[in-house]
Symmetry: C2
Subunit: 162 residues, 2 copies
DNA sequence: GAAGATTGAATCTTCAATCTTG
DNA sequence: CAAGATTGAAGATTCAATCTTC
């Protein structure tokens, strides 16, 4: 079979970008992308509709709620949610505008700033987490057997030093 | 154990947002998010550095290369890469500006427009796919046994009607 | 000079409104 | 009026430059 397109007179090889991925590999990879896209779109929409929160804002509130004193330095917080320092500055601006987060000076290092979860932020997170966790269970976890769950976790662990 | 934070005088329950997710569930879910984020960041950077293409532009080129006549209607293309119609309009503007894609009228329906992959676009895709597929293999596929791959594919299949 | 954080400019994406054609 | 596509306006995110403090 000749792998050259005779389309519109072209002599460029007709190369599906996934040439070299066999069907099984392609299913594993594209499925990952597609499921992630569909799942996060849905979860984001649920949070936005019911709680006026984006998924990324939600993640920031989660990290703060899990931190000692419910506060983290901006740089550490940016690291843990994997967004840029400037991106986090803007996000904390927005969250502070809603009264969900406050800024605090770092004692002992005047360069640093803490983002602190307020009571209002904690309460908002509590409400939102019900919606969010329900979605995660319904759309993701309920489809996994215990065995699947263990295998999946082990798999992510192996990939994590990306 | 009382699950109430005595932080800054707060009486709001200290509720990690993942309350109700046991450690195994949490590992399966957060691992999914974290791996996706790290992987796509890396793959996107590789395409940008070596080929001046974003991952989403790359996906558009891929779909066109796999389509009959290397062309798709704007609405179908938007559907298949999961971006909004206006987002696709802008993206095709940018790709057309680089000569990688052209627009064509739909014969028989003057409302419609085709996006068509040019020879130059096909060639650019061919170059980029080498980089991209290398990345997908190195960062993802090589970590999967054949058994993992089958299980993962079956799992995505089950989740897909999200 | 380097680290932590912020700001301005630029990019990318979306929603709502619009325009054309069916 | 509905479908397909585009445009204007707005939001979110990033890079590079800047400012303050170590």
């Amino acid at each position: 079979m000749i792998d050259v397109a005779m389309i519109a007179g072209s002599t460029i090889p007709a190369v599906p970008s996934t040439r070299g991925l066999d069907p099984s590999e392609e299913a594993a990879w594209r499925g990952f992308l597609k499921v992630h896209s569909a799942l996060l779109r849905e979860l984001d929409a649920e949070l936005a509709d019911h709680h006026r929160l984006s998924l990324s804002s939600y993640e920031v509130l989660v990290r703060l709620s899990e931190a000692p004193q419910r506060k983290l330095r901006m740089s550490d917080l940016a690291q843990s949610v994997a967004i840029s320092p400037s991106g986090l500055t803007r996000m904390v601006d927005r969250l502070a505008g809603q009264g969900l987060v406050e800024r605090d000076r770092c004692p002992g290092d005047a360069r640093g700033t803490f983002a602190v979860l307020t009571d209002r932020g904690q309460e908002r997170l509590r409400e939102a987490s019900a919606t969010h966790l329900d979605g995660v269970r319904r759309l993701f976890l309920e489809q996994l057997s215990d065995e699947d769950q263990r295998r999946l976790s082990a798999f992510w662990e192996r990939l994590l030093p990306v």
